[in-house]
């Protein structure tokens, strides 16, 4: 699956069919050379189910969940998931199809009346795939279709109740393959095309007459459209047993249109990268990487370097050290989105540059097998990121009535993490601790607050695998410490001072 999340909404993690997920991999460390923009902290690989070896398989599944204490079977309240899928393999070919449905009844939380904190939604997923596999060549094609409707009910009112519905249609085509020309050279590629449309529908109900009709307010019936194309091709060259080269090309084309988005020509990003892997001895791995890129919409760093190293210190202990220059691209929203009302005037800034960063990551891994059935391990890690040209809101100097986006501030994060795990027969346990600091921007205004504010987090889990059933029982606990925030107050003499406020921490038990 190819896409970004966070700064732009191309892949929304809530819009992935969980029935299609085989596993989730988290690749830690700066990966900006290979993955380009945004891959600052790492990459989450959501690996969707692919081929199966069976000749013919059919699956059907029904899942019913409560949400908080809200549930009623097969109806609005709670979560109701049902799916059917089938797979057929013959000779070198494999084809599959799946359909699943997710009806989520929403969750009221702290809201009252008609409103819900988590909005109810209906999702329908269709998945079709075809694959071809021979010894030296494999090609897979998949298409996913999503139809989703999210319901946002308005507040109770004495006369007009205004409800909104957001309907999404998304097509995602993917093709990937690998060709092994010899044991010295291999080529693999991944291509994707995504089309996404979202329609907003606003309905008015007159409480007194019971009439229900479409709202006549401007922008209340609207749509946005997004198209994204990506293509990556990577060569794997084995020069000798100690040295490998990986050249690659990365293309990303995206365009969006809709209400409040300035007419734009989309964003085209072209990049070439080269990475090498050098292992002078068995216990040393060094991976230097370079990426050269061009972007049509914003100024991206022309060349970005990174280096990842791994040293095996002894049988149980290994050390990783990595540096990367990274960057985050401005999103279509930040470049082109405009918002105006009675008291707000906000425009995108098409002249934004990418945020750039320096990241250093290090970790020390310790693993020991006490016996075949008893394994223990621990990881101690640390990271430091410094971001320049951070994209932030400010006042437009040519028209002070308008708020827009600029490359302004410097932002830093740093942290230490520790995790310990233990596996004995069918039991496994994990204890993790992290302490993460975020740079406080108020320090730039010379106000007396600490440079960084720190948040602790603890998570642990214990799980038991029952092999005959292929079932795992897992108990989680997670505690996030309160996040210190600061607010500026003005004292009686007009001096600014900062006071610490604690944003509530939370715990999660399951």
């Amino acid at each position: 699956m190819v896409g970004r999340q966070g700064v732009s909404n191309e892949i929304n993690i809530n819009q992935i069919d969980i029935n299609q997920i085989q596993k989730v991999e988290i690749v830690e460390g700066p990966m900006s050379v290979v993955y380009g923009a945004d891959a600052l902290a790492g990459v989450i690989n959501i690996i969707t189910k692919n081929r199966s070896s069976e000749k013919l398989s059919l699956q059907a599944k029904v899942q019913e969940e409560t949400v908080g204490s809200e549930y009623s079977p097969f109806a609005r309240r709670g979560t109701h998931i049902r799916s059917v899928s089938g797979n057929y393999g013959v000779n070198n070919w494999n084809i599959g199809a799946g359909f699943s449905q997710n009806n989520f009844g929403g969750w009221q939380g702290e809201e009252t009346g008609r409103q819900k904190e988590w909005l109810p939604k209906d999702q329908n997923f269709v998945n079709l795939k075809a694959g071809y596999l021979k010894e030296d060549l494999s090609i897979d094609y998949q298409v996913d279709y999503l139809n989703e409707t999210v319901f946002s009910d308005g507040t109770d009112a004495r006369l007009e109740v205004i409800d909104q519905e957001y309907a999404t249609n998304r097509w995602m085509h993917r093709i990937n393959g690998q060709w092994d020309s010899s044991d010295k050279f291999a080529l693999n590629w991944q291509g994707g095309f995504t089309n996404y449309t979202r329609n907003t529908k606003t309905r008015v109900t007159n409480v007194r007459t019971g009439e229900n009709y479409l709202s006549k307010a401007p922008d209340s019936q609207s749509s946005i459209d997004y198209n994204g194309f990506s293509w990556r091709i990577l060569g794997q060259m084995k020069i000798n047993s100690k040295f490998k080269l990986q050249p690659g090309i990365d293309l990303n084309l995206e365009s969006g249109s809709g209400e409040r988005i300035t007419q734009n020509e989309g964003i085209q990003d072209y990049a070439a990268f080269l990475s090498a892997k050098w292992s002078p001895t068995e216990s040393i791995q060094i991976k230097p990487e370079l990426r050269k890129s061009y972007n049509s919409a914003y100024e991206a760093p022309v060349v970005i370097p990174s280096i990842n190293t791994k040293f095996r210190l002894n049988e149980y202990l290994s050390l990783r050290l990595a540096y990367a220059k990274g960057f985050r691209a401005p999103s279509i929203r930040e470049l082109y989105f405009n918002f105006f009302d009675a008291s707000h005037s906000i425009t995108g800034n098409p002249d934004l540059k990418a945020e750039t960063s320096h990241s250093i990551n290090t970790s020390l891994d310790w693993n020991k097998e006490l016996s075949e059935e008893w394994k223990i391990g621990a990881v101690l890690g640390g990271f430091y990121n410094s971001v320049d040209n951070r994209i932030a809101y400010g006042q437009d100097p040519t028209d002070i009535q308008i708020t827009t986006l600029f490359n302004v501030e410097n932002y830093k994060t740093a942290g230490a993490t520790f995790s310990y795990n233990h596996r004995y027969k069918n039991f496994s346990g994990n204890l993790g601790f992290s302490y993460i600091g975020r740079y406080n921007q108020l320090t730039e205004q010379a106000v007396l607050v600490p440079d960084m504010s720190w948040t602790p987090e603890v998570n642990t889990n214990l799980s038991y695998t029952h092999a005959p059933w292929k079932t795992a029982f897992t108990l989680y606990y997670k505690m996030t410490g309160s996040l210190p925030g600061y607010e500026t107050i003005i004292d009686s003499e007009g001096n600014a001072a900062a006071t610490e406020i604690l944003l509530d921490g939370y715990q999660l038990n399951q």
Binding site: D156, I162, Y213, A217, I490
Partner: protein
Amino acid sequence: MKHLRILSFTALAVGLGFFTSCDDGEDVPTVIPPSESGLIEIQGGGAEYPNTSFIELKSGNQLAIARESWDLAFSSGSEFKVLINGTTGAMASATGKTDLNEVGAKKIAEVEDSGELILTFTNLQSILHVDNESNPLSAPVIAAINATEDQNEVYILSRGSCAATERSLKKIRIIRNGKGYTLQHADADSTAFSSLDIPKSAEDKLVYVSFEKGIVDVEPSKTAWDISWTAGTSTAAFPQAVNGTLAYFYQDLVYHNIYGGSSAAVMMEEDIAYESFEEQDAASLEFNKTDRMTIGSSWRNGSGPPGSPAATIKNNIYYIVKDAEANLYKVQFLSLTKDGVRGTPTFQYELVAQGN
């Protein structure tokens, strides 16, 4: 017996003179009894809320006029005071000069550079350039017109561009003219100016003037309205701003007619439900006669920057309005929208007690 009506503006009843009984102080029987209850859709003009609407509860009459249709309002009272148009976000700056021809490019550049005449949350001195939001005649930005002619300064005036057409800066100077006023005005960069004589009026508290059209009709005569709905300049507490207050443009302000003898009080549903409010409940209420912002925007929850929830109506508040004849009404806003469109709110009202 209550009856429900949708009432719209009928100009006929305005100024028919059934208030003369009050003015004369004679005990003449009321010609038309005050209306008992109703539901009024305010003709705000829709999503861009272009209008100010004046409503008289007694007759159910509504008069909607474009907020942009006037620039200055001259007091007909004993004092010589002039208001700028807060309903478009107008702002003014004194220039220190008393000759219009001495004010030109230099002053314009000064005002434009400082941004002092732009009503935005980034203009921290905005409060110094607007009329008082609660009782504008008590503290207008234009100093009371002095009997000594050369004591009256030239002002640079922004005609207001908040949900209104952006228009170029004006320079104005107002002097007394016997029992009335003379307005000298021109575009701020102009070398010639026009003069307009404005007499005070016996029927109207304020005489309205447009630079283009001269004297214009805006509000109904002095006591012929009780509440008005408009967008306009209000204020928000903001520690960094001058006087800790920021002038801020709000949609959905409701004024009661403090210059025409209306008064208002706020009621919470939790104390006495709207349905059960009766005449004797009014005895302990303090009716505000001097702050037209008593109702203000307190009947809705505000909306914020993008992503924050849309403005919503408050279901727990209503108002008691006493008109100039001491008729007592309860007034409750029901909706911010009509067919989902902002700028067309609806309220219900009911006569609690008949006045004089």
